[in-house]
């Protein structure tokens, strides 16, 4: 069967995939998509600072704008469309009820600085969510304000530093497993710590002996993900925590993989002092093409006094927002206003919908789905470690040895099959890693189709079809893009003097 190239079209469009220019290329002077009344004439009070030049924004009417963004959306893969097996991202279904709740009058339209007497319901909502988070993790306190997972990491590590400063101790090293997500060492460095990497053992877990050897009076603590980025539960977690505590350090838990254990294991029972939770992972708030997220941090009694402002307190006269430290030990403010309220509403709606029983079922199904993937692929695609795994399955590129096909090529071929690729080349401790997290909202039918396609791709890679893999993807809105030129000669905005958007060289 000969592969015919697709027919050329006048428009460059291919059926439902429409080529869409930039908004700047559709400009008509004076045109607008919003009707506003004519302003009255009068003196201004701008201190002589009225703008002297045009801004250069393009003018489009509403039909064109709707068409523009509709066409753009059609070039995006999404959870609503198919399985999104990115490891440690927990791309689960985003319930639409949550969107409706976030937009309720009396929630969506609250200004953050309204008098506290007019927002008691909002503070109660934050308090209720906090209660769920504390109960699920077995921790006594939670900082709600961090705006994303990495921001939550900053919060946790800052709390540790504040606690050490309070003790008068100068510990300048933090232990970070080599398998850790890049935000962990970046966060430690952002708080003035030196990073001490810890290797993994042959089972993919933190090497306990190596970790213990690095403990000392200058170690502030350890940042540890559990389940870890290899998708494995750290069996020795409680022992590690005990050893770190004995040496006077703190245990920061990266909660990115909480979806594996929510409702079944409480990190507080294992000895964490603080743990950030990604509401946009475990608790389904939408990923939105790259944010916004929300990263509340549960805190132990030892760290709670240092929590950032603001925080909600519940007293006899109702709910209050503590916005100033007034001689307390808080390490300070991390973000403007109070936190990602829009994500709090969505996460609470998710928790109320699932309940304690549903959350427990969800984590169990997440782990079941990942193990089903692992068991169904293990003979064609090499698992990195012996099972069982938790909520994600890690493979390496040994199955591609001598085929001329890399992990990257394999991933690009998945695109033509209608799937977003899994996470590639992470964690770094495994060669050519393929990390797949299906989540609990994938049906068995969806998994079976995914498995079938991957098995077929693996067979084709091993039977010498490398050339086809190098050409992939061929059916996506764009082929592989030249990232080298993009970095060597960055074009980071459209320029009016060149139709192609590249400044004259």
């Amino acid at each position: 069967m000969v592969d015919q190239p697709p027919p050329q079209t006048f428009t460059g469009n291919r059926g439902l995939v429409i080529e869409e220019p930039l908004i700047f290329e559709q400009d008509m002077a004076g045109r607008t998509g919003v009707d506003l009344p004519e302003p009255a004439k009068g003196k201004d009070r701008l201190g002589g600072l009225r703008r002297k030049t045009a801004i250069g924004l393009p003018g489009l009417a509403e039909p064109q704008v709707v068409r523009h963004y509709t066409r753009l959306s059609q070039k995006n893969y999404a959870i609503d469309m198919g399985i999104y097996p990115l490891g440690s991202c927990t791309m689960k279904h985003n319930p639409r009820l949550n969107e409706k709740m976030a937009r309720l009058p009396g929630l969506g339209d609250l200004h953050p600085l309204q008098p506290i007497s007019t927002v008691q319901g909002a503070l109660e909502l934050i308090d209720r969510l906090a209660h769920w988070l504390k109960t699920l993790t077995g921790m006594p306190a939670v900082a709600m304000s961090p705006g994303a997972g990495a921001h939550g990491e900053l919060c946790g590590v800052m709390a540790i530093r504040a606690a050490l400063d309070h003790r008068g101790e100068k510990r300048h090293r933090i232990l970070v497993p080599e398998s850790a997500h890049g935000t962990n060492p970046a966060t430690a460095a952002a708080c003035g710590f030196e990073v001490e990497p810890i290797p993994a053992d042959h089972r993919g877990r933190v090497d306990f002996a190596a970790m213990q050897a690095k403990l000392g009076p200058d170690v502030a603590g350890i940042m540890i993900t559990n389940p870890n980025t290899c998708g494995l539960f750290e069996n020795d977690f409680a022992r590690i925590a005990e050893a770190v505590h004995k040496a006077g350090g703190f245990v920061y838990g990266d909660g990115a993989n909480f979806n594996a254990i929510v409702g079944r294991v409480r990190p507080g029972d294992l000895g964490v002092d603080c743990m950030h939770i990604n509401l946009h992972k475990t608790f389904s708030t939408p990923h939105g093409g790259g944010g916004p997220g929300s990263g509340p941090v549960v805190l132990s009694a030892a760290l709670a006094p240092f929590a950032p402002i603001p925080y909600v307190v519940h007293g006899a006269e109702g709910f209050r927002l503590v916005e100033h430290d007034d001689g307390g030990a808080s390490f300070g403010r991390l973000k403007g206003f109070h936190g990602q309220m829009g994500m709090f509403i969505r996460a609470l709606a998710y928790m109320l919908s699932h309940g304690a029983d549903g959350l427990r079922q969800a984590s169990g199904d997440a782990v079941l789905n990942a193990n089903y993937l692992m068991a169904s692929l293990a003979d064609e695609i090499t698992p990195a470690f012996d099972g069982p795994c938790m909520h994600e399955a890690l493979f390496d590129d040994r199955f591609l040895k001598d085929t001329g096909v890399t992990t990257l090529d394999f991933a690009k071929a998945m695109i033509d099959e209608g799937f977003h690729p899994m996470t590639m080349y992470f964690p770094l401790v495994v060669h050519g890693a393929l990390l797949m997290e299906p989540t609990e909202t994938e049906s068995k039918d969806s998994l079976d189709q995914f498995i079938g396609a991957l098995r077929d791709l693996a067979r084709r890679a091993k039977s010498g079809e490398a050339a086809a893999f190098h050409e992939a993807p061929r059916l996506a809105p764009r082929r592989r893009l030249d990232e080298t030129t993009a970095a060597r000669r960055p074009v980071l905005r459209w320029h009016p003097n060149n139709a192609q958007g590249r400044a004259a060289e």
Binding site: T484, A487, R488
Partner: protein, 125 residues
């Protein structure tokens, strides 16, 4: 190119008249992939053996370049930032980064010769 010396961080140095020319090795440029950016030290900068002195970036990785010897930077490859691809195409020649006047020629003894560097690279995964 006589008597190139190599470091564990994959820099090479070629010394003539007390001044060493420094670049990164073919092995290093292959690991990095397409180089997109280089950051060179200022002329006059004092370098310390083993400490950061320059930066090389590819699409997927960024790497510090460490001074193979201590001394003073006397010249930099001014054209390199505009043509970073030269690091990939000619790492031992036109892809040189900077020249350094050695403070202590004895430090060269700590570096690897060609054969030792070759087996060092083979030993890496």
């Amino acid at each position: 190119m006589s008597g190139l010396k190599y470091t564990k961080e994959h820099e090479w140095i070629s010394v003539e008249g007390g001044v060493g020319t420094v670049g990164i090795t073919p092995f290093a440029q292959e690991q990095l992939g397409d180089v997109v950016f280089v950051e060179l030290p200022e002329v006059g900068r004092k370098a310390e053996q083993g400490k950061e002195i320059a930066v090389v970036e590819s699409v997927k990785a960024a790497s510090e370049i460490y001074a193979p010897v201590s001394g003073e930077v006397v010249e930099v490859n001014k054209g390199l930032p505009d043509t970073p691809a030269t690091v990939n195409s000619d790492p031992l020649g036109n892809g040189w980064f900077f020249k350094i006047r050695l403070a202590d020629a004895g430090q060269l003894a700590k570096l690897m010769d060609e054969a030792t560097y070759k087996s060092f690279c083979e030993g890496l995964h």
